[in-house]
Amino acid sequence: MNNNNDSVISHRLEENIDRIKALYTDCFDVVFHHLQCGQKPAVVIYLTGMTDSDMLNQFILEPTLHKMKDEEGGLGALCECLPVSSFTKAGTLDQVIMEIGNGNPVLLLEDEDQALSFSLAKWEKRSITEPEAESVVRGPREGFVETLIDNVTMIRRKLKTPALKMKTMRIGRYSQTEVVIAFVNDIANPALISEIETRLGRIDVDGILESGNIEELIEDNPYSPFPQMQTTERPDVVAANLLEGRAAILVEGTPIVLIAPTSIFTYLQSPEDYYQRYYIGSAIRWLRYLFALIALIGPSFYVAIVTFHQEMIPTTLLLNMTRSREQIPFPALVEALLMEITFEALREAGVRLPKQIGAAVSIVGALVIGQAAIAAGLVSSPMVMVVAITGIASFLIPHFTLGISIRLLRFPMMLLAGTLGFFGLMMGLALILTHLFTLRSFGEPYTSIATVTHWNQLKDVAVRAPLWKMNRRPATGIWNRYRQGPNQRPGPSKGGGKR
């Protein structure tokens, strides 16, 4: 945006109109509505479809035409008689263009070097619905929508403190997407906020269409297969993270909000862990840890054990496996790759297809990964079991972003296990672990458990401790250590017995 003298609003209305018209050539949806404001000519410029035309007629055009009829028609007088709550004065043409782009009608007046912009932007938007990717049994049902201001409102409704700060900036040469950094002032580390601002400020691209674009442009290790920012479409998740000292990045036009920094354990937690009883929360977490491991090494473990370490299988099981593998023409590795690739293809087909055809895909899928495949002699039945369990395991990871990374890493692991046995499997695991331990998300170690400085931090990783036990914030919130008062443990009040 060039910020030179051309941008100054001229006193002559005609000149302003000409310049704006020159910018908006071939834009049929820009309306220039000429009218008389008292004795002076005026013009209202807006985008049809993005402006509430009823409100515009009723509260802007009518008062301007009728009430101002006898007046001289200055901007100040106009402001006084307009029954509109929110309007701003724009001093430059750039601002005017931006306001028009946002859908706000702008009024330009002869002899004035300022324009009036009314917050009457209105467009068709999706109503708030239940988030589909993160559904819970117990917990709020609202999810973010595509409209930024609605999303901001949803967070603001959860955290009413003035310490909840929302810094805004525009990113994208052409898209001019509005991006909001939300954080709680007393809890979040200021260094984190300035780091996020710096990274966002660096972005110089044509357009930001989804928060995924931003994520890719500001993450710590761009080559890592692991996601380094948590994504969510749940306002309660964002609020909980803000209270733990993290920052949220909201992007106009998408319901997906980014949260930074994050650790790998975040991806294995679900908001419902905190809403159900803590025994259940802890047990389900352990189940997820176990199945995340299975999702990563399930097929490779099987391949390694079947092709290299037959002595490790219980005898009776081995006999059964030998019997079922007798008809199979392929080595176990090929068999595993075949099945896993088919499974991934089926899953992808199920996601992309319209819902009506999805049922057909699952029927075909049950045939492909099932009895028919065994009967055709392509795969053995233990392999079908392994693939099915691995599939379930990867769906158990509550965050799709990590689930898909683990699914991807499964394939190199299978190749390693199929060529080098357990030795290869261990090498692969060591490689992944080394990478995880070096990975950082906005300065915070990705595997926060490795950097435990206080046992307290395990309370939300090894188990889900009762809320009244988690007095300290996690490592991201050391800035402001205690999140609740002491002695939060509930129980009948002591000494105050009424009997």
Partner: protein, 390 residues
């Protein structure tokens, strides 16, 4: 970028990995000939005959349905193959030559030595089992009456195959299963003697044959020195403190005569302790056994619910146990001169100096070792029915 180059280099390395090896020595499970059990016999001309039971899954499922051999447990068939060689390893190599699949010893659970083989000595053949990386040390060892091949070729009905049958029998509390590792420890220990379950083939009509444990084979220095019946086997296990549970049937006489009979008790929590004593030239061993018993059968008129009668029964039970232990010990001592009871270790532990001086004479000394047995089994659960139903 630098990192990009690094990743490219590591990708290249990964592409080279399969060439380095590993992939080529992988074996699919359907390329393995799984040896389930092996029998080692001595042939007439002094070479070794190795008979193995190989698991071969059916080539096609339709074949399995049409019914194959007499046994036909499940859809798999067990094939017995044998090879002759100058020693175990040679026979194993010959066996491999007969097989279309790679011989895999990793699931061999049972090794049976034929009677003749055992008489000649099994130490040389056991060497192969310990040197080879695949056979497991917790495989069970048996000595068979007659040829081991006869046992191996049994197609049992109850269990999957002969290996599973024998393994299950060895695992049972009365089975006295001896693993390769235990055998090794016993044969190379101070007493140089071991006791191994003795198995025999029993043929019932209609082609139903099964193996059963008839008693104990006593090995001295790796050679079969004697065969004993089930009773001696049980008492030996008692002295070795390897028996946790046992049944004892003994004659009882009541306080006021005329109500004699037989009673059987089940002893649990058996614990045997050895107290060695050396007095001058006399070496003797005090065996003390403790346990808790419950009455399982009573054919006498004694009312076991009466405490004073129960004490009397207890006394008779303990006298019987002591007598049996002494008898069995003396039998083994007289006939084989093999210290299968682990007395050598007990003496060494209590008299290390005397032992180091005398250990070369242990065989002579053992022949004259005196035994005293004391049993202190308490009948804690007489049950609610007192007299027998006579």
């Amino acid at each position: 970028m630098k990192l990009g180059r690094k990743i490219g280099a590591s990708c290249l390395l990964f592409c080279l990995l399969p060439l380095l090896g590993g992939c080529w020595d992988r074996t699919e499970v359907n390329d393995l000939a799984l040896i389930m059990a092996a029998g080692i016999d001595l042939t007439d001309n002094g070479s070794i005959e190795l008979s193995v039971q190989v698991f071969t899954p059916n080539q096609s499922s339709s074949e399995g349905n049409s019914g194959m051999m007499g046994g036909g447990a499940g859809s798999n068939t067990i094939v017995v193959q044998s090879a002759v060689g100058t020693d175990f390893a040679d026979a194993a190599a010959k066996l491999q030559e007969q097989m279309p699949r790679k011989v895999f010893w990793g699931h061999g659970e049972v090794f049976i030595f034929g009677e003749r083989m055992a008489k000649q000595g099994i130490l040389n053949e056991i060497d192969f089992l310990f040197r080879h990386p695949q056979p497991r040390e917790h495989a069970y060892v048996f000595v068979s009456k007659g040829k081991a091949k006869e046992i191996i070729s049994i197609n049992p009905r109850v269990e999957r195959d002969i290996a599973e049958t024998l393994r299950e029998m060895a695992v049972l509390p009365y089975g006295m299963g001896i693993s390769l590792k235990e055998l090794n420890e016993m044969l190379t220990g101070r007493s140089k003697a071991a006791v191994v379950p003795l198995i025999e083939r029993k043929d019932e009509p209609k082609g139903n044959s099964y193996p059963y444990i008839t008693g104990a084979a006593v090995l001295r220095g790796g050679k079969l020195a004697g065969q004993f019946d089930d009773k001696v086997k049980r008492d030996t296990m008692l002295i070795r403190n390897k028996m946790k549970r046992t049944n004892v049937t003994f004659p009882v006489t009541g306080l006021q005569g005329g109500d004699d009979g037989v009673m059987t008790v089940k002893i649990t929590k058996c614990r045997t302790t050895l107290f060695p004593v050396i007095q001058g030239k006399r070496w003797s061993m005090m065996v003390r056994m403790e346990g808790e018993a419950s009455v399982t059968q009573n054919t006498s008129r004694i009312n076991v619910t009466k405490p004073q009668e129960l004490r009397q029964v207890e006394k008779q039970l303990n006298r019987e146990i002591g007598k049996r232990i002494k008898e069995s010990f003396r039998l083994v001592q007289r006939e084989t001169d093999a210290d299968v009871f682990g007395f050598a270790d007990a003496f060494w532990r209590k008299y290390p100096l005397v032992w180091s001086r005398e250990q070369s004479r242990w065989n002579d000394i053992f022949q004259d070792v005196d035994i005293h047995a004391a049993s202190n089994v308490k009948i804690l659960w007489p049950g609610f029915s007192g007299k027998s139903y006579k």
